[in-house]
């Protein structure tokens, strides 16, 4: 029996499965009727211990006259209790596929049964015009509010990628409907939409009763860049990896690897061992500098600038490490299909090992000092609780879910590259709060150092690249996964003709973390809002401007970024006192 067959047999007991295709040893796709889709996904998700990792709508009208949906489910066990985990040899990816006829682009919503699908189904309508019937929240997600109705950009015949619809005048822009709780005394606090320290804009609405947040909603995707469309039209595989890298300025390498490995797996390319080891090293270096950034910011948001500076001093060593391993301050510009462009010399390996010692020593020292500071720890504890059941329903990833006691780690569940030859522990904490998430990050830093060290010590010889020969099979598809600093990145690629991709779906880690954020805000104070967002590590830690509206008195007041940050850091002189 092959991996995943036991689950598929169980699905077959209730549902007709039309087709079973195997992409790799641990990736299977089953095709079901669109009316059976919600039940099939629910069975795999709740009954058999799956988590929703990705959902790919695809315009296959050129291939078979239909649209298709692929729900990618990671079978790893529910993990609500330590025993509730599948044995390692049963873990796999099961993709539930369904066809949607071109003349009736609707399908029954899965979200009613599996809440984790909500963002994916909203996006499916925006990008492909596929309507999820029964979707509780059908608002726009990805496209901007003034994008023309009925233009679904990822449909193959929708538009040329250069097309720019006319912009709507500022005053005529439609308003986005936020989900507002009703009731007297509810104050609406918008956070954003512009954001000055990092480059990512997002608009948060916090609904407050006094100082306490009772609900929250947000609007993102102000910076949608249309990369998926770009890749389908113009890029060849030499360029794809470098485009994927530019998804993020911090953890882009993880995207490049997930993207390229999806393409490699679809056609069964084996990468040389040395390149595998180096890919793992680079991914872990990325985790080092990203986690250090996040822990630093979590200190800074709460006013501990001193700790922030020390952590950044250490972070500089990790950038130097990246320079030794890849020749650039970031690990970018190195991944190609079939391996890596640049090899390392033994002198560089020796120097890197020395650097690791320094990083480890100083990291432990700083962390001890931060933990020694009762005020700092007090600000983190009990804040931004991610409830375990909410986590189970929404499939969050990375330190966010590991801080709530779930041992979900792509390196452990779906080992890629060299990982299965290494020893490491999955860092888990049970407090469900910001403190636990930062602790997870700290533990992971130490694990990463140990992983990098093991890789250097076991570094296999030989080439770092194979000559990929006529490798593309049109229509072949596969999943590529890796554990980025913020959680599991899952990319999906279907090959097309002429060395181009037919469809590239890039699902960044934070995409899965946003939908549960609303619940994490509830019950906290405004002062902790920035910290909670920060603890998700969405490259996001502060807001430019806040308007406060008191619904009762109809008064409003504009708070600057400085006001909010000052209050967040000092907890003195409440900015709304005089309203």
């Amino acid at each position: 029996m092959k991996k995943g067959d036991n689950f598929i047999n169980k699905v077959k007991e209730k549902i007709t499965v039309h087709d079973i295709e195997r992409q790799t040893e641990d990736q299977v796709t089953i095709t079901v009727d669109r009316n059976d889709l919600p039940e099939a996904v629910r069975m795999l998700y709740y009954d058999m211990g799956g988590w929703l990792s990705n959902m790919i709508p695809n315009d296959e009208r050129q291939l078979n006259g239909n649209f298709a949906l692929y729900y990618v489910i990671s079978m790893e066990g529910g993990k609500m209790t330590p025993e509730d985990e599948l044995p390692q040899e049963q873990k796999c990816w099961i993709t539930v596929k369904t066809y949607i006829p071109a003349n009736d682009p609707t399908f029954p919503s899965v979200t009613c049964k599996v809440p984790a699908a909500v963002w994916y189904e909203r996006e499916a309508f925006d990008m492909f015009g596929l309507k999820a019937v029964g979707l509780p929240d059908p608002r726009r997600l990805v496209l901007s509010d003034d994008w023309p109705e009925g233009l679904h950009p990822l449909r193959k015949d929708a538009m040329d990628y250069r097309h720019r619809p006319d912009a709507v005048d500022h005053q005529d822009e439609p308003d986005y409907k936020f989900l507002e709780p009703s009731g007297s005394g509810v104050v609406d606090v918008p956070l954003g939409p512009l954001h000055i320290t990092s480059d990512e804009p997002g608009h948060f609405r916090l609904y407050c009763d006094g100082d306490t947040i009772i609900d929250a909603d947000f609007r993102l995707f102000y910076q949608h860049r249309g990369m998926e469309k770009l890749a389908e039209n113009r890029m060849n595989y030499d360029q794809m990896g470098y485009l994927a890298e530019r998804v993020c300025g911090i953890c882009g390498y993880a995207h490049a690897i997930a993207c390229i490995e999806a393409a490699e797996r679809a056609v069964g390319i084996e990468v040389p061992l040395r390149a595998q080891a180096m890919r793992v090293i680079c991914l872990e270096i990325e985790r080092l500098h990203s986690h250090l950034l996040n822990i630093g910011l979590a200190c800074e948001v709460t006013g501990n600038i001193n700790a922030f500076m020390h952590i950044f001093r250490i972070r500089e060593f990790t950038m130097e490490l990246a320079q030794l391993v890849t020749g650039g301050r970031k690990t970018y510009g190195n991944v190609v299909m079939g391996g890596l462009r640049r090899d390392m010399s033994s002198a560089e390996i020796k120097k890197s090992l020395d650097l690791l010692v320094t990083i480890e020593q100083q990291l432990i020292e700083v962390w001890d000092a931060v933990m020694d500071d009762k005020a700092q720890v007090g600000r983190w504890k009990g804040v931004g609780i991610l409830d375990r059941q909410v986590a189970r329903d929404f499939s969050p990833v990375g330190p966010n879910v590991r801080g709530s006691g779930f041992a979900r780690d792509s390196r452990h569940d779906h080992p890629y590259d060299f990982i299965d030859q290494l020893e490491f522990n999955v860092a888990v904490e049970n407090g469900c709060d910001v403190y636990s998430r930062e602790n997870v990050r700290y533990k992971e830093l130490l694990e990463s150092i140990s992983i990098i060290r093991q890789c250097f010590e076991m570094m296999p010889g030989g080439q770092t690249i194979i000559k990929p020969q006529t490798m593309i099979k049109p229509g072949a598809f596969a999943i590529g996964n890796d554990e980025a600093p913020r959680g599991e990145n899952v990319h999906w690629i279907m090959h097309g003709n002429a060395q181009k991709v037919y469809r590239w779906r890039c699902r960044a880690a934070t995409y899965n973390n946003w939908s549960s954020l609303r619940y994490q805000f509830r019950g906290n104070t405004i002062a902790d809002a920035a910290l909670i967002v920060c603890s998700l590590d969405p490259c996001y830690s502060c807001t430019e401007r806040v308007t406060v509206v008191d619904i009762n008195s109809q008064k409003s007041k504009v708070l600057t970024h400085k006001d909010l940050k000052r209050y967040s850091q000092t907890l003195k002189n409440h900015p709304l006192k005089n309203m």
Binding site: N306, G327, N334, E348
Partner: protein
């Protein structure tokens, strides 16, 4: 308090940059440096470059082949360095590339003389590429006659080569049919 002690222990963590240079390790992948003297205009780098930072094409009146590198597009992957047959582009350790006001200052250009096809007289490649090829052929140790024939072949543009090949093969078919 522990944090303050650490500050004393480690002292200054920053460099006095830009008043003191920041040293990058050996093997750093910096801005590709172009050596005009060595370039033969083979366009291998332009084909390999994933971000289209390098363009090699004929200028408007087709009198020169222009090699142009736009550093603002470069992602420092080093593909150009890897494919260049004459080491005319090599990654350097230079990383300070800020320019004021005009991004065109980041562009580098080199103009190479072109060579015309013996048959149709249209320009098709650079003189330097032809001499490079002939140089290589001489080293391969061919006798004079073969060398002359091969040189003639090299001096013909791809379009004419194709036509000649087609002509030759039709002759062959015609004869066979008889």
């Amino acid at each position: 308090m522990k944090l303050l002690d650490m500050t004393r222990k480690y002292g200054n963590a920053t460099y006095n940059y830009p008043f003191e240079p920041y040293k990058v390790p050996e093997g750093f992948r910096g801005k590709p440096a172009y050596d005009y003297e060595k370039c033969i205009g083979c366009t291998a780098c332009a084909v390999a470059c994933p971000s289209n930072a390098i363009n090699v094409k004929l200028n408007e009146d087709k009198s020169k082949l222009v090699w142009e590198f736009n550093c603002a597009r470069c992602i420092f992957c080093g593909r150009c360095d890897e494919v260049c047959p004459t080491n005319a582009v090599l990654l350097s350790d230079e990383f300070e590339m800020a320019v004021r006001f005009d991004k065109d200052n980041l562009k580098e250009r080199g103009e190479l003389d072109v060579e015309c096809c013996q048959k149709c007289k249209n320009p098709f490649t650079t003189s330097k590429l032809i001499s490079y090829d002939i140089e290589r052929l001489k080293k391969a140790g061919w006798d004079e006659a073969t060398l002359a024939e091969k040189t003639k072949y090299i001096r013909t543009c791809p379009e004419c080569k194709k036509n000649i090949a087609v002509e030759n093969s039709t002759q062959y078919f015609v004869r066979k049919r008889k």
